[in-house]
Symmetry: C2
DNA sequence: TAATTTTAGTTAACAGTGTTAACAAAAGTA
DNA sequence: TACTTTTGTTAACACTGTTAACTAAAATTA
């Protein structure tokens, strides 16, 4: 009964080839110009086959959104593991976040920008919760080893993420290509201020 | 020779009616579903007339982007004038910025979000420079009356704007309708930390 | 005023988009 | 081999922005 298994495998490969073709499209022309038709063209199949594997175009985008959050969460975890002090961790994670955003610009724009993440959808992306939990746990640890252990960790998490996302997106809006390396000073400035107010209070 | 003047006036009115119809569309269905055809339908003219008044769809969006930055700049100036202390001004402006974003969600999303402001375009929006200059001047004043007058004002402006935009856009992504009033605590937290590090250092 | 030019506005089309219903062909099962 | 299921295709629908070609109205000139 290897037939059924082969079919599943083929279906999986097909699905992967759709995503791969889509990703190549995105890399060369950006999200805006990704189209079902071009994907179909690239994989040399007719259009409707794509709908056998993805409910609609948004489902394809969702796949990449998940991938993006997964990658970001992994990166943050890895970076965090290189330090023991929560403050150092938060700082290193901030830099890693920045680097991720510009090294994987396409992912980042989908994850936060273009997405106009359809309302409830956001909360249903498990991979996003992963990123959230990495950040929150580190902030909790920082608070635990601080002067004021009564600090609202959720509020601080929200502040942390907002500062990071604000820095990144303002930079992305203004500059086009490479991220001005000087701008990392701004990141450093903002994030060290945040950390200081977090642990010293 | 009142004919030429009447013609100019009519052209102006026509242009205004296009913008008005577009704005109603946006208010009821959002930017994503704004279309030239619907505008033409609303003003009861054929499609190509719109291209006599606007080069393309983006030009219409640009008009609203300018309007948005103008309104925001006006608001910031007005709020600033109610205080004399730069720190108080920066704090009040931060709250005004937040309020503007959610009271004029459509404008804000166009100004910063969807816009994917076509590269150079951003620097050519005079109204945006207006907003920038209001913020920068206040920060300069805060620095002047601080401990460390050597602080890089441009870096601090960038940080200020990034914090604000980050807070707003993270909130907009997560919540759909009304802005959680509790979230203003986060704004307060982040901005008072910023101001403290700006004037005390 | 009549003829001519300019302007304003229309229809119809082009080249795209996402999505789906109806059908044909291939593959698996009895 | 005959039947059923899966797989894939064609062709269409309902949209999108944009523009070329044409007509009708208005303004200008002779």
């Amino acid at each position: 009964m290897g037939i059924a298994e082969r079919k599943i495998r083929q279906k999986e490969e097909f699905r992967a080839s759709i995503l791969e073709a889509a990703w190549l499209q995105v890399l060369s022309d950006g999200w805006q110009s990704l189209s079902i038709r071009k994907i179909a063209d690239a994989i040399e199949y007719s259009i409707p086959v794509i709908y056998n594997h993805f409910e609609n175009k948004e489902a394809i985008l969702l796949e990449f959104t998940k991938e993006g959050f997964q990658k970001l969460a992994d990166t943050l975890l890895e970076v965090k593991s290189r330090y023991s002090n929560p403050s150092e961790q938060l700082e290193a994670m901030a830099h890693a976040y920045w680097d991720f955003a510009f090294e994987h610009k396409e992912y980042y724009q989908l994850m936060f920008g273009l997405g106009i993440p359809a309302c409830e959808m956001v909360n249903q992306i498990a991979e996003m919760k992963l990123m959230t939990s990495v950040m929150i746990s580190t902030i909790q640890e920082a608070i635990a080893s601080s002067n004021n252990t009564e600090t609202n960790y959720f509020l601080k998490y929200h502040t942390y993420l907002s500062i990071l996302h604000g820095l990144v997106s303002i930079e992305m809006i203004q500059k086009v290509g490479k991220p001005d390396p000087e701008k990392k000073m701004i990141l450093q400035d903002a994030i060290s201020g945040f950390i200081k107010s977090l642990v010293i209070n």
